[in-house]
């Protein structure tokens, strides 16, 4: 019965065993050159002697790999010549699981992918489901603005987590404590609203699970009043500090063309100077009604990516303030009997409501046949959800385009020619969440 599948090794192998194409990929050449252009560059540098280089393994459980990312590096002295990320250590078959769960239950699954921004995952899944149902235009205003509020707060908590881990990776250990501390303030708000700090399953097809609790406005205002001075502390601690700049500036550089070719999105693409943010260029929810700036970098290095995320926290706060001013009254979910369970109070007095409630939670609702791809801007880039439905209450195929999974392909490119010590800074600046990479 045992059959050895021979599809090649996943590890980084000696140069002598590689084809030219694979080698080029591993040293991080991604740009498409015409033959004339290549001729202009002259001869490519010769391969170093194999006794001068060493292939070492980093991870999968290394403190700076943000989970279980494993890297294999080819080193010459302290210089990284090649790099290959090896992933899959956290693979739990979530796309397969998604085919077993109804559209109603699907949120519990997708929310666990990018565990640093769960609400954005739920949002994209819900939006894809709504588009398939054809109710994406009927979602009540309050639900749209509530979703925006949660999405922006989630962006802040995710970027604060990045501040913490980025600081920790580069030796600014006190930053780790500060970042976690501020993130906790946001998570405390999430706990009050959704009941959970993470993995909320709060955004659902048709709207949200519940309305905002009393006193939510004061809680948000408290976070908004607290954060600006804390962010200024970060500026003093890191942004202007020479050691911090030395560690990040000019490290892990990527050009706009390379980022586009590799499919990188989010802060990585914006750090190269490309102004691309789905909130602005492909607006969803009510992002076309709020004012905010897109933060772009100019050098495409790790410092730009740090600065972009820091300033995106400030922009998110700006958006949240506008949401507070404009939050409309009304329903927090669509009153479509097909997708919305009856209110709790009705269940006690009406048999039909009880049956309806039971049916919707056991069988789920049927979604018309079709296929759809919906993308939104998560803190890490474009998160997309492709759902193919065969008309049953479960997705026939549910695929999540995970930004970290694609962004992680930039690593060989960013690390090439850098130092081993900078490898950690580069991984950190890509900000991968391994739950989403492996799914």
């Amino acid at each position: 019965m045992t059959m050895i599948a021979d599809e090649g090794a996943q590890e980084l192998r000696p140069r002598s065993e590689l084809t030219a194409r694979e080698l080029l990929r591993e040293v991080g050449s991604v740009l498409r050159l015409s033959e004339a252009e290549a001729a202009k560059l002259g001869d490519l540098p010769e391969d170093p002697d194999e006794d001068q280089t060493m292939i070492i393994n980093m991870g999968p459980s290394h403190p700076s790999t943000h989970g279980v990312l494993r890297l294999m590096l080819e080193l010459q002295g302290e210089t990284v010549l090649r790099c290959k990320p090896i992933i899959g250590y956290l693979h739990t078959g979530m796309e397969k699981t998604g085919e077993q769960l109804t559209f109603m239950q699907g949120g519990t699954n997708v929310t666990r992918m990018d565990y640093a921004s769960p609400l954005n995952n739920e949002l994209v899944f819900s939006m894809a489901t709504e588009k398939l149902l054809g109710i994406d235009g009927d979602i009540p205003e309050r639900a749209q603005w509530m979703r925006m509020l949660l999405s922006e707060l989630n962006r802040m908590s995710s970027h604060l987590l990045f501040m913490a881990t980025n600081g920790m990776d580069l030796g600014a250990v006190s930053m780790m404590i500060y970042g976690w501390r501020e993130r906790e303030e946001v998570l405390r708000f999430f706990q009050k609203v959704t009941g959970l700090r993470m993995n909320h399953n709060f955004v659902r097809p048709g709207g949200l699970a519940a309305d905002l609790p009393p006193g939510w406005r004061d809680d948000v205002l408290r976070i908004l009043d607290l954060l600006p001075e804390r962010l200024e502390e970060y500026d003093i601690l890191m942004t202007g500090q020479p050691i911090w700049r030395e560690r990040l500036q000019g490290v892990g550089v990527i050009t706009p063309n390379e980022a586009l070719a590799l499919g990188a999105t989010g802060p990585i693409l914006r750090s190269t100077g490309v102004e691309w943010d789905l909130r602005r260029h492909d607006p969803y929810l009510r992002y076309d009604e709020v004012e905010f700036d897109i933060i772009v970098g100019s050098y495409g290095d790790a410092f730009d990516r740090y600065a972009i995320r820091l300033n995106e926290i400030r922009e998110s706060m700006r958006i949240v303030r506008q949401i507070l001013d404009r939050m409309p009254e009304g329903d927090y979910r669509i009153q479509d009997k097909k997708v919305t369970p009856p209110p709790r109070a009705r269940i006690d007095e009406s048999m039909e409501a009880l049956i309806h409630h039971f049916k919707i939670f056991t069988e789920g609702f049927k979604v018309p046949e079709g296929e759809v791809y919906v993308a939104i801007e998560s803190p890490r880039g474009e998160i997309g959800c492709y759902i193919a439905s065969d008309g049953s209450p479960t997705p026939y195929r549910m695929h999540v385009r995970a930004p970290s999974f694609v962004n992680i392909q930039c690593l060989p490119h960013m690390m090439r020619g850098g130092l081993v010590a900078d490898a950690v800074a580069v991984i950190s600046s890509v900000d991968p969440v391994l739950g989403e990479v492996d799914r």
Partner: protein, 177 residues
């Protein structure tokens, strides 16, 4: 029963509908799915069409995935497209005009191969490996055709619809069996 004028005009519109050619783009049948543009590309024109679209400004391949339609072979397709078991789904993005397009290509089970888009969009490297890993569709010309998420000695392709869930013993890499 004689034909009433109404019935005649209905027949006429039906005939007219049948004679209207299917909408096309770059020689491929084009459909709309919930307002999103979908191109049904034949397998032998897959790279060629992608190249034309790349030249038109679709500079980024945001997503490449596959669907196994084993249990849903009667899905809706343009009349000129014959449904096969597998379908490669590619989402392209043009950031200058902020528009998207989706390519769907039928891949038969008997010959589950397709050309790679790696030379056009290097970012598809990991995605194609994932599709290979999960569906067993191989990409001709891919520089590193190894499994990406599952262990390299894993048997079977988990996202295929006939992959037995829960009935096979868990395989551990390198463990004595």
């Amino acid at each position: 029963m004689t034909d009433t004028p109404e019935a005649q005009s209905e027949d006429a519109t039906e005939e007219a509908e049948a004679s209207i050619p299917e909408p096309e783009m770059l020689g491929c049948p084009m459909t709309e799915s919930r307002g999103q543009i979908v191109l049904h590309v034949a397998r032998d024109r897959y790279v060629e069409v992608a190249k034309q679209l790349a030249d038109e400004g679709y500079a980024m391949c945001v997503d490449l995935t596959a669907v196994d339609y084993l249990k849903h072979m009667d899905r809706e397709l343009p009349t000129s497209v014959i449904g096969e078991r597998f379908e490669i789904v590619v989402n392209l993005l043009d950031i200058t005009h902020s528009r998207r397009i989706r390519l769907r290509t039928q891949v038969p089970e008997a010959d589950a191969t397709i050309a790679t888009l790696f030379d056009l969009y290097p970012g598809t490297e990991a995605m194609e490996r994932e599709v290979f890993d999960m569906f067993g569709i191989s990409f001709e010309g891919h520089p590193d055709p190894s499994r990406i998420l599952m262990p390299e000695d894993w048997n079977g392709y988990p996202l295929r619809k006939d992959f037995q869930v829960g009935t096979i013993p868990v395989q551990f890499k390198g463990a004595a069996s």
